[in-house]
């Protein structure tokens, strides 16, 4: 069987060119998605918080957790993930509105995701995780912890309640909570 060295080299060059082109196309698609369509991972810049003191001072004190419409009109949901519960266990947000989640942990690593959405982030003690999103459908969605955080990890589960804009009624301080069932 005669295949000379030149034809081997030629076939390889062709294949390598095709594969490098394919990889470059893939890269271009990803770069377009991130720069053009702003589809990027959460927590674009670094923000730290002391896990030992976050419950006594600062934005993650208990009274400040949950959904709040800030003075500028931005909807922010602050959550503390701790062994083995979310605080609060239910977060209410308006439909079709930009929402920012700010999440911190006082103990170990946790993870947060909201089923049926692209909301997904690790929560690493020492740092603030931030996810911006917009919910399309109303209803209750599961928000489990997705990183092993100890023996009670499987029970660590919360909900996000998406309500129509008209039904989203923050109080005088801009706070909104899930109505008791």
């Amino acid at each position: 069987m005669a295949i000379d060295e030149h034809s081997v080299a030629r076939s390889e060059r062709r294949w390598a060119t095709a594969m490098i082109t394919a990889s470059a196309t893939l890269l271009a698609a990803i770069v377009y998605a991130s720069l053009g369509a702003h589809i990027t991972p959460p927590s674009n810049s670094l923000e730290t918080v002391d896990p030992a003191t976050l419950h006594v001072a600062g934005e993650f004190v208990e009274a400040n957790l949950g959904t709040k419409v800030e003075s500028g009109g931005e909807v922010v949901a602050r959550i503390v993930t701790a062994q083995f519960a979310f605080q609060p266990a239910c977060v209410v947000v308006p439909q079709d509105t930009p929402v920012t989640f700010r999440i911190a942990s006082p103990d170990v690593i946790h993870g947060v995701m909201i089923l049926g959405t692209n909301v997904n982030s690790m929560v690493v003690p020492g740092y603030v995780s931030r996810v911006r999103t917009r919910f399309q459908d109303t209803g209750d969605m599961l928000m489990p912890c997705h990183e092993f955080c100890g023996l009670g990890h499987s029970q660590m589960l919360a909900h996000v309640r998406v309500v129509a804009k008209a039904d989203f009624k923050p109080d005088a301080n801009g706070r909104a909570t899930c109505a008791p069932e």
Partner: protein
């Protein structure tokens, strides 16, 4: 028979003993997570089992198989005795003592931190000491591979190191680089915390150091499979290696691109900003290249074999291949799973799309398919191929070997396709029990049942594998002599550039890339000085 048969068999049997135990645990874990009531189900037992399963498969099966196979290649491909066999036994002893320490600490319930041991959850220090001993044992192997290759080069000046050995040494070099990250994490942060010498840790830094190891370790695991693709499959099919040069470029590319990309495991983490995540994302796209080159060269080599065997037309050569040869069959099955696994990998690395699947069952499915499927099936086939050389006995039945390989591939697809789907739909990872009464979850039941069937098939296949290996030892010495081990010869030999016959310039390149990719992400911890997190010990009942 080989001079070092006993050494190699000791490594491989230890690897497969760990595998046999771990796969039973894996099936039990699936049962616990499923809607069907399982015996002994509790959080304590489940996470203990996950820790044992992951450590045994990821650290024991792989490391000992790779070491044993490396010693085999060094002796057969170089046709000369292994240097310092006593040191090799020292490495083995260190490794087995370390592995036993891991087993003892895990099953005493004092190391339930999973095989990724993310701080500040902290196990008993002896769990980490056990892991370090396994790694140090493997470093001895790395040194022996380097010495063996250097010795051969000294005695054969100007000649190209046989490809199988070049690739094995590339893996040794890769492993030395890879383990730096996790070794730094364990020695400087985790072990001092576990002994109680420090009370708090920089969690972001531990994750960064672990990510250094996390991607390249997978290449450490898969390089033996690629060695079999390039040097064993074409030989058994009766063909030639299409291009020795391309093969070397692929192995060097694994070494270079496997390392500076680990931050892609931290896309969803808050301790790194967009900048370095995107730098490493770009480098990650490049890691697809060596695998794509391999697909071409291996297919071209197999085509030569098929045509020499009389195959005609565009695809007639495929049918003409000797699929009865277990290693040829395994190569086909492995490539099949590689398509699915590779596609899944592209989704994972895609910066934004990663959010869709991060820490869901999709990820578990992905690494089971690509490692448990594409790679481990080649560990089986390699074992079938080298066991006659280690024992001096021919296989009693190739049919049983083929049945084992088929059942493994079918089992792995049945197990992991439902996991992919559930993960895409949001099933999250690392959970002992789900609430199947929740309507958001109840529809999972048939998919969980299907993957459980896959798990049962895999356990059956694993036992058949161990049976097949044991039957070599039971068989009488065969009348026909075992043919010597030959690796595939390249279509055209000679002309290997010096750069592709050693690792000096590639090591320099790795160093440059690692500084570019990791210097800032690591230094950041010392510049920003993030608050530390208090150590949470799991080895004390409280």
């Amino acid at each position: 028979m080989l001079r070092n048969s006993r050494l190699i068999l000791a490594h491989l049997w230890l690897a497969f003993a760990a595998f046999g135990a771990a796969i039973v645990l894996g099936l039990w874990q699936m049962w616990v997570r499923s809607p069907f009531a399982a015996p002994l189900a509790s959080s304590e037992n489940y996470f203990m089992s996950v820790t044992a399963h992951g450590s045994a498969m990821g650290y024991v099966l792989t490391t000992f198989f790779i070491m044993g196979f490396g010693y085999f290649v060094a002796e057969t491909a170089l046709s000369r005795p292994l240097p310092f066999p006593r040191l090799a036994w020292t490495g083995f002893t260190l490794g087995i003592v370390g592995a036993l320490l891991v087993v003892a600490t895990v099953f005493s319930g004092r190391a339930t931190v999973l095989f990724t041991f993310y701080p500040p959850l902290t196990a008993t220090p002896w769990f980490y000491v056990g892991l370090v001993m396994v790694v140090v044992g493997s470093w001895i192997w790395c040194a022996l591979m380097l010495v063996a290759m250097a010795g051969w080069k000294r005695d054969n000046p100007g000649q190209a190191v046989p490809l199988a050995m070049f690739a094995t040494t590339a893996n040794a070099v890769l492993w030395l680089w890879t383990t730096v990250g996790v070794a730094a994490e364990l020695l400087f942060i985790v072990i001092p915390a576990a002994f109680g010498w420090t009370q708090a840790v920089d969690v972001g830094l531990t994750r960064t150091l672990f990510s250094w190891t996390l991607h390249a370790i997978v290449y450490f695991w898969l390089i033996p499979a690629y060695i079999a693709f390039y040097t064993m499959a074409p030989q058994l099919a009766g063909g030639r290696l299409y291009s020795d040069l391309m093969a070397r470029i692929s192995f060097v590319a694994f070494l270079i691109y496997g390392l500076p990309v680990g931050l892609h495991h931290l896309f969803m983490d808050p301790e790194h900003a967009t900048g370095f995540k995107s730098v490493q994302m770009v480098l990650t796209v490049l890691v697809a290249v060596p695998t794509l080159l391999t697909v071409f060269t291996v297919c071209a080599s197999m085509e030569i074999a098929g045509r020499l065997r009389g195959g005609r037309g565009l695809l007639g050569w495929v049918a003409a291949l000797p699929w009865k040869q277990p290693l040829v069959l395994a190569t086909g099955l492995s490539f099949f799973m590689l398509w699915f696994g590779g596609f899944g990998g592209l989704i994972n690395m895609s910066y934004g799309m990663n959010a869709m699947v991060h820490n869901t069952s999709w990820v578990t499915a992905h690494f089971h398919m690509i490692f448990g499927g594409s790679v481990v099936i080649m560990y089986f086939a390699i074992s079938y191929e080298i066991w006659p050389r280690l024992t001096g006995r021919m296989a009693p039945s190739l049919g049983l070997q083929r049945a084992q390989l088929w059942s493994w591939a079918v089992g792995m697809m049945t197990l992991s396709l439902p996991w992919h789907w559930l993960g895409l739909k949001g099933q999250w990872r690392r959970v002992a029990q789900f609430d199947y009464t929740d309507p958001a979850i109840s529809w999972w039941t048939p998919w969980m049942a299907m993957s459980l069937v896959g798990g049962i098939l895999l356990v059956g296949s694993a036992f058949l594998f161990l049976w097949n290996l044991a039957s070599f030892h039971r068989a009488g010495r065969s009348a026909e002599a075992v043919p010597p081990m030959n690796f595939a010869v390249a279509l055209h030999s000679g002309g290997t550039p010096a750069a592709l016959n050693g690792f000096r310039i590639w090591n320099i390149l790795v160093l440059v890339l690692m500084v570019a990719a990791y210097a800032f992400p690591i230094a950041q911890s010392f510049i920003v000085k993030p608050p530390y997190a208090v150590v949470h010990r799991v080895d004390r009942t409280n």
